[in-house]
Amino acid sequence: MKKLINQQPARPARWMLGTLPFILLIFFYMGASNARLEENPNDKLLPAFGSFVDAIDRLAFQPSKRSGEYVFWQDTLSSLQRLAIGVGISALIALVLGVSNGTIPYLRAGLSPMITAISLVPPMAILPVLFIVFGLGEVSKIVLIAIGITPFLVRDMQQRVLEIPSEQLIKAQTLGANTWQIILRVVLPQVMPRLLASVRLSLGAAWLFLIAAEAIASTDGLGYRIFLVRRYLAMDVILPYVLWITLLAFVIDYLLRKLSLWRYPWFHDQTPEGS
């Protein structure tokens, strides 16, 4: 008998072991839901699966009586749009600031302390300020996401640039490159896959800020809907929405990873962090 740390499950076994907790969870939920509904058919806490299907059917496949929109898709579109713009702007700022700070010592000396200070401000604490300054519209939600994740991304990018071996920068100079050419051909292409990796890491925080902003001031969006129906204890809407958000987060992460693998094969083959 091998020691426990040396025993590896075979592929099918690993697959089964991986799905088992999910199946158990579903069964556990069904049992608990049945028990409660038997006691009180109007119980709202743990609705039966049929209620989820009804709720999704109502929200996703029938136009809303009030606005004529398909609420589920409208919420999804609004949220994804805010997320994409917020994260996109953050990534762009991070790329520009991180690369220029990382390569030009004078810029770094001037900007680094400020960026560190900004990154220490708790974004949720200045949400009221954003609402006052930018109003309750789209801008303040996007700005909250940007404020929430940009400092992390900038600092990470700067760090990644500084990690490029100095030999490479020296080599480029002996090949006749000026500062701009080094940034363009040596630094930028090498930090792009690292930017994708940090964006993937920061997406969790981006969702957090998005849902928080939508919960507080919005008229649509996934976060808005969840907090709206909470008043009626509508678990039949909340739980499918949470699952949907989880699935969206998973798909976005997966797509970013595929994009990185496709565009930057050299990165994933040589660094363990990239694979």
Binding site: Q173, L175, Q190
Partner: protein, 265 residues
């Protein structure tokens, strides 16, 4: 006037004197191989020639002009590692200097000009025996192939001075012999002036026209950093006889060999 003159160069890091009173002259086409105990300042010396470190005292002149302490295209370098760009293929790595040269803003070449540069790059890649690996990334190459790529990349820029810091240290003996032939061939073709650090004395004898030994002349046991290394031997490789060879071995604190060192050229 000599091609390169080194005038009373010192290098200190804080209290530690690494190099002291380095004086020498080098002619165009010399191949200087540099040996010395680990940590005695060989790389530091090469960095001063490269321009990434400035001497604490003294100066280095090339054709009478004081050296600029910033790397430029006059001096090519091959480091022990990290010498090639991991995000570029073999061809792109070698093309890069042409693109820097021809396109200040985009650093890229297109169409006809790219084709011309590509032919030239291909020639250089063939010369180092990487013709079959044009579109491979560095991580797909062995250590020896990466060093050959680094040499091709440095040489296409036609630097007048080529600096090599233990470039073949990590390679197998067979591949090393190939690399030696390559360096000698390119040296003859381009009339380069080469400085090469090696920890392999045989390699030093074989490749060099001159061999320099870096060593501390004075040592203060109470303060190991008080004195720096100097060039204790500087001789044309052809003139090294057995007794000089033994002295060099002693300086390197290696067991002396009795055989006559191999002599080239």
């Amino acid at each position: 006037m000599s091609y390169i003159t080194i005038n009373n160069v010192w290098k200190e890091y804080g209290d530690q004197v690494v190099l002291e009173r380095i004086n020498n002259r080098v002619e165009q086409g010399d191949v200087i191989t540099i040996v010395g105990a680990s940590g005695c300042g060989k790389t530091t010396f090469l960095k001063m020639l490269l321009g990434t470190e400035a001497p604490s005292r003294g100066d280095i002149c090339i054709e009478g002009e004081p050296l600029r302490y910033e790397p430029d295209s006059q001096r090519g370098i091959v480091f022990q590692r990290y010498s090639v760009f991991p995000h570029l293929t073999v061809l792109q790595n070698v093309l890069l200097s042409r693109e820097f040269e021809a396109s200040p803003l985009l650093a890229r070449l297109f169409a006809g000009r790219r084709q011309k540069a590509r032919e030239e790059a291909q020639e250089m890649i063939d010369a180092v025996g990487l013709g079959a690996a044009l579109d491979k990334y560095p991580h797909e190459l062995s250590g020896g192939m990466q060093q050959r790529l680094a040499i091709a990349q440095a040489l296409i820029k036609k630097p007048r001075i080529l600096l090599l810091d233990e470039p073949f240290g990590a390679l197998d003996p067979g591949i090393r012999a190939d690399m030696h032939q390559l360096v000698l061939k390119l040296w003859r073709e381009y009339r380069l002036t080469i400085f090469m650090i090696t920890h392999d004395l045989k390699e030093g004898f074989y490749l060099g026209t001159r061999l320099w030994v870096f060593d501390k002349v004075r040592v203060d046991p109470q303060a190991p950093g008080a004195f720096g290394a100097r060039i204790t031997y500087d001789m044309p490789v052809g003139s090294i006889d057995a007794s000089a060879g033994n002295k060099i071995h002693q300086a390197l604190a290696e067991p002396p060999v009795t055989e006559q060192p191999a002599i080239t050229e």
